[in-house]
């Protein structure tokens, strides 16, 4: 793994793919971030089964499409950086297992909850949805922090971490940050997508979450900066983290002045910039080795051949804009606020 010290410049396919994967992660966290958040604040905003039906309905048409961003991020990492994919996925083994369990339970909870009309059945799945959403948000925060926080890596570039290596204080702080930020993001989403009493309660929940989320983001980014300074690698992100920690405060201010759309945009941008900060910090490494910084695998040591990267570039440039167009169209189609009558139409058993 000696290539780490060689500078290859920025105009190459490896760098392009590194940032395409960053875009996929940003897409995943911005989109699924709010539906994790909706799940996590479900018990606080929705007081009974019917109210929770309305809340879940806001993400009903889109959550599955949001989750595909993760599958594509995983697939793209596999295709463009097999060394990164194999080291990361086998190294974060039990953490990923827990994430998978949370994602499975979450998907099933959303899909199965409305398949039967009885309240007890729905109550039970609502608990599953809330817990699994919160857990998934927390675990992703831990996982992403571990990318830059450093994990043990052996001479062949394999992560050799056990579960406890992944749960160091910085990563746990990152997990809590993501959980709070996603909950805030989700509560704002609900404020945009519901009406009446639920809207008021969603706004109140968002207002309560705003400050803690913003404080955690500041703390997390300062910690990240301190880490980055101490090992002196990666791009210096400058304006990116500063904007990332200003935005949650801005979101709180927008919310107070009833500009919820702007508030939601601000949390979305904050999530995006936090993810960007982490990956800029990482570049050109793909995992930070806590054993010896020279062992950190990089985009150069883990990438696919030039041919595969070229093929994948063409595929990505053709399909990504199309995906963005039709997913945006979906949000447009379902732009109307959801109310009780939407989930009470006779033949539906929402």
């Amino acid at each position: 793994m000696l290539a780490a010290t060689v500078h290859h410049g920025y105009w190459n396919l490896q760098t392009l793919w590194f940032f395409l994967i960053v875009v996929l992660w940003i897409g995943y966290f911005v989109l699924e971030g709010f539906d994790f958040g909706v799940g996590a604040v479900l018990p606080f905003v929705g007081r009974d089964v019917e109210e929770r039906s309305v809340l879940i309905r806001t993400i009903g048409p889109v959550w599955d499409g949001n989750e595909v961003w993760l599958l594509v991020a995983g697939g793209a990492t596999f295709a463009a950086f097999p060394g990164w994919y194999s080291s990361l996925f086998s190294g974060f083994y039990l953490a990923l297992f827990l994430i998978l369990v949370a994602l499975i339970l979450r998907g099933v909870a959303i899909e199965y909850r409305n398949k039967r009309p009885d309240a007890e059945w729905r109550n039970r799945w609502d608990v599953v949805l809330a817990v699994s959403s919160g857990l998934a948000a927390l675990l992703w925060g831990v996982g992403v922090s571990d990318f830059v926080g450093g994990v043990p890596v052996d001479a062949s570039g394999q992560v050799t971490a056990n579960l406890l290596d992944l749960l160091h204080p910085y990563a746990i702080f990152g997990g809590l940050t993501m959980l709070a930020l996603f909950a805030f993001h989700g509560a704002l989403f609900l404020s945009l997508r519901t009406a009446g009493e639920l809207e008021a309660r969603a706004k109140a929940t968002a207002a309560r979450l705003g400050l803690p989320a913003a404080a955690l983001v500041v703390g997390f980014l300062i910690w990240t900066y301190a880490n980055a300074r101490s090992n002196g690698k990666g791009l210096v992100p400058g304006i990116v983290p500063i904007a990332a920690f200003c935005l949650p405060f801005a979101a709180g201010a927008f919310l107070r002045s009833q500009r919820v759309g702007l508030a939601f945009t601000a949390t979305a941008a904050s999530v995006a910039l936090i993810v960007l900060t982490i990956f800029l910090n990482l570049y050109p490494r793909v995992i930070v080795s806590s054993t010896d910084s020279a062992l950190s695998p990089t985009i150069w040591t883990t990438s696919s051949s030039h041919y595969t990267l070229t093929v994948m570039t063409i595929v990505a440039l053709v399909f990504t804009p199309i995906v963005l167009l039709y997913q945006a169209w979906t949000y447009w189609v379902f732009r109307a606020r959801i109310t009780g009558t939407d989930v009470r139409t006779p033949l539906t058993q929402h």
């Binding site: 009903g60 993760l70 194999s86 039990l94 398949k115 595969t308 093929v311 595929v315 033949l347 539906t348």
Partner: protein, 469 residues
Amino acid sequence: MSSLDLARWQFAVTTLYHFLFVPVTIGLAWFLVGFQTAWYRSKEERWLRATRFFGKLFLINFALGVVTGIVQEFQFGMNWSAYSKYVGDIFGAPLAIEGLAAFFIESTFLGLWIFGWDHLKPKVHLATVWLVALGTTGSAYFILAANSWMQHPVGYKINPVTHRAEMTSIFKILTNSTLIRAFGHTIAAAVLTASMLVLAVVALHLRRRTDVQLFAPIARIALWTTLVGAIVTMLLGHTQAQLMTKQQPMKMAAAEALYKTESGATFSLFDIGPWQRRPNKSLVSIGLPHFLSVLADNNWNGRVEGMNDLQTQYEQKYGPGDYKPIVGVTYWSFRVMAGLGILAFALAAVGLWLARVPERLERSDRFNRIAVWGLAIPMLANLSGWLFTEIGRQPWVVQGLLLTKNAVSPTVSAWSVGLTLAGFTLLYGVLAGVEAKLMIGAAKAGPDGAGTYEPKDGQEAVGVPALTY
């Protein structure tokens, strides 16, 4: 057990489980396309009811297909990191393309289909279900492209420095001869599976005499698609077997329990070997002389290679080792798959024979009772097919290039694999129970009725009722 054994068990459990849902999704999506298109063109309400009813079953099934699919993508990296590193250049590309070009379409447009009844124009809404079906079918193509490369690697070179496989032609990988046949075979089998699911549900209602007017014509449609699905699956399976004789002769020889190379080889009907993983002779063997040669090579006296001779050849080529798969599993999974295919064909033929006379099919309690249980036929056939495909390739994970034992993650302990194996098995088991209960409940409840519906809470039914979700 070593982490290798546990990882193999985990792959078997999670993959077979995932594939319980996949063919139903693919096949049923096309049924929905058919029903909704019929409704759009004829404006007959019964097709709308059929769309909604089978749509509900589709969604219950789809949920588990999706969530177990994430595990599929992740476990290559988690349990098989050496494999992932070795083949990522090639294997990762179709997986990524699948997500970007097919699964995004499927998931996004399914959301639009479920919730878009009141939001979209009928024509646009119809287009969403078409896109779901095309997306699922496209997914199958790219996933099978990845799998076919493991069966028959093409369009690659081995990098002499890194010793990894590298892609030289995406075109060759996407037009792999193995892939073309496997895709047709899988899609036909998916249509067959969904047809027999539809048939089972319909038979349930015919027996109870509920909604006979709706279900009787659907029974006939499902019988025809079962028949055609079975024929196409078997014909393509036959061409696959012919190709396999050339590309993976060891797998084919194991499927036929053929130990010695023969000209005018016997097609085995029944065979028992010594109770060993990799025996080298049969104890009891009943078969049709020359038939295997005809099937494999279209030639009465064609030469078909036997396992013992292939073993010698492979030892010379790849060095010492055991190159036979587990013969018993390979042989019997192949027979179970093919036998069930024939059974599906027979069931459909009998049903169509009954259906010639008005009301005879509808009133045949015996046939309809069998048809309900007939759902087990394609399910077991699908599982046997994958068992055969994957076990028959052993000891290779990529035929001729990488052995399974060298593919496993070196850094993951047996404890970790065992823990996740237990976790997935438990979780999957519980979810299977919930899923079965929901499916049976929804199937028995039948379609939301025309005129049978009573508004609750004093509400009026307005417009087209939203699909149950």
